[in-house]
Symmetry: C2
Amino acid sequence: MQLKLAKTASEIKASAVREILKLTQHDDVISFAGGLPAEEFFPAGDLQKAFERVFQQGNKVLQYGLTEGHPPLRDDIRQRLIKKDINVNVEDVLLTTGSQQAIDLLAKVYLEPGDVVLTENPTYLAALQAFKYYSVNIVAVESDSQGMIPEDLLAKIKQYQPKLAYVTPTFANPTGIVWSEERRLALLDACAHHDVLILEDDPYGDIKFHQDETYPSLFTLGKQAGFHGVIYTSTFSKTVVPALRIGWVCGHRQIVQAMTRAKQATDLHSSSIDQQALHSLINHFDLDGHIQNIAAEYRRRMQHMMRLLAALPSHQVHFVEPKGGMFLWLELPAEIDADVLLQSAVKAGVAFVPGTEFYAGNPRRNTLRLNFSHTNAQRMTVGMNRLNDAITSFLKSDAVI
Amino acid sequence: MQLKLAKTASEIKASAVREILKLTQHDDVISFAGGLPAEEFFPAGDLQKAFERVFQQGNKVLQYGLTEGHPPLRDDIRQRLIKKDINVNVEDVLLTTGSQQAIDLLAKVYLEPGDVVLTENPTYLAALQAFKYYSVNIVAVESDSQGMIPEDLLAKIKQYQPKLAYVTPTFANPTGIVWSEERRLALLDACAHHDVLILEDDPYGDIKFHQDETYPSLFTLGKQAGFHGVIYTSTFSKTVVPALRIGWVCGHRQIVQAMTRAKQATDLHSSSIDQQALHSLINHFDLDGHIQNIAAEYRRRMQHMMRLLAALPSHQVHFVEPKGGMFLWLELPAEIDADVLLQSAVKAGVAFVPGTEFYAGNPRRNTLRLNFSHTNAQRMTVGMNRLNDAITSFLKSDAVI
């Protein structure tokens, strides 16, 4: 049998970095690679009780559900979004298998082969992967610590006539940055004038380190300006637990309905027992208090990581202090290629994700992403010392560019 | 904002039938429409205990999982498949969100726009929907109660050079038929000679009414003949519960690995807590005994439905007695259009799926699908009487063709 994989699928190989990182999934490697929340804070006991309550409702809870998702959970989400100034109808909320599926479904219903998608540079690597399956052209817009740079954005809109802009404006993955309001408005203005749909990916927005600061969503700012072309997606993977794989997407009804039909053809619906359990949890548990607790803990871990980085003056690493989220983006001395560094780092017992993975355009090879949420202070100290050793040996070696 | 949905998505509308059937989801309509297993036999108590055991293992069970799925469950599946003479390595088993996702992922990695997919006629309607998103041409092969008709199959292979054949050879949806071994071998032979990949969809194979009969899988017959181009998919939705949405796909490593990479880009992974609970259930529960029990009950319900059909001689309905599965396929007198009949049937308090939904080629408009697994004998009697009344009124009305 001669196999003939589709062109896109045959071009997408297992990433070399991913293969290396597979080797790091045992306890003797301290990994800052995965985008993992801290297990020790999972509300496991409360979630278990939530499942028990669902089972008490009788066998019907185990039947097929709606493609749109469990209606009471969709209404919980609608209510929670009001606190963020995001006002949607429950009909315009679709539950997905993580927010990753929202990216895939939007691509499925909105993009044709050859269409152009604008992204930040760097951006979330699995969004790049999702888009690649639709044979679109991904064009990276130059970005700094405030967001996409408007001049480059406008130039690229004019040059490429993109159909979609994919952005993570609040505590971005991988950079951890927050877009300024000015840059948010500039993006909205440019997209409104050129009919570019925006996908606002907000998995980390709730994990904020300064409770008094607010970061208005593109969705809300757009609505205020009369622009309804922002599709908003988020997830409970970082705030409750990842295992349930419950994300959601909301926005323009025509788009969300098209995504719902596509989801029906894709997997009928996501786990409905998990959706019912999450609904029960939300209504018997102080989720907002829980989120504040984990945000406070992640902030302490981030501060600990920054102190450890500051103690390594010889390496002249640069980073922008994150205001939330789970990642710290490191710029190493220009002569270090983080892809090469990873190999010696793993041998030294520490792992990270090299920056190259996150670039659609020309990568800056001396960058890397560190996750600070998953590792406690004690292990973090050991891990960062190993990273220091790896960088020090690397700088003395032949591998320096 | 001017929206520009992708061509495929804009062509796929909500089905009119589906909209009618939405009206039937309250208790005063007796629905034979949905492909629903009987709730009263769900192993809810055992599943609840399985969840409890998983939670007892600590918080780690709630972390992100592998795209491939929970390894012990993949191994359970491997072991269970041996009993069906299907021998695969655990590495070649991918867990999916229902077998629906297996269809979607295979299309994603194997089909290009314009490629031809062969299907039975009629066939599973949600497979047709899944394929449509990939802009492929679906070509229906003439089929009878033994499977695809070899002459038409060969003619269509020569005419269209298809890349994939999608079939449900055991207790097909919607027709309930079982392919004869001769037809299975004929399909394998034709596909082997013309490099056509086969997707064998087997959601109902375990729900068999004659325990002594065996129906060899295309996968196994193919392997015996040296043909490795059969991808096999099935699900626990009918044998355990649908809410978990746990299906799987296995077969040629290169294809399964490509599907795994595509799944990573699509949704990272399916609910891992559900996968762990199912693994625990399988190892603490007599699943095979349970499957025999529900198959016996579904057989009784099918027999009851057949008796009710036989009591309506005036309507001259035809059907082939199913040897398993959940559906009975009805051929009405030629002058009845089942799409039109549905509207009066719903008013009379009974629902079904008109046959037109299942045809990729020219539909036979006087056909319909009845589900017999979900409705107990008492309600079934009431529902079938209503259907009888609806048909009788219909034949007297102007709606007759």
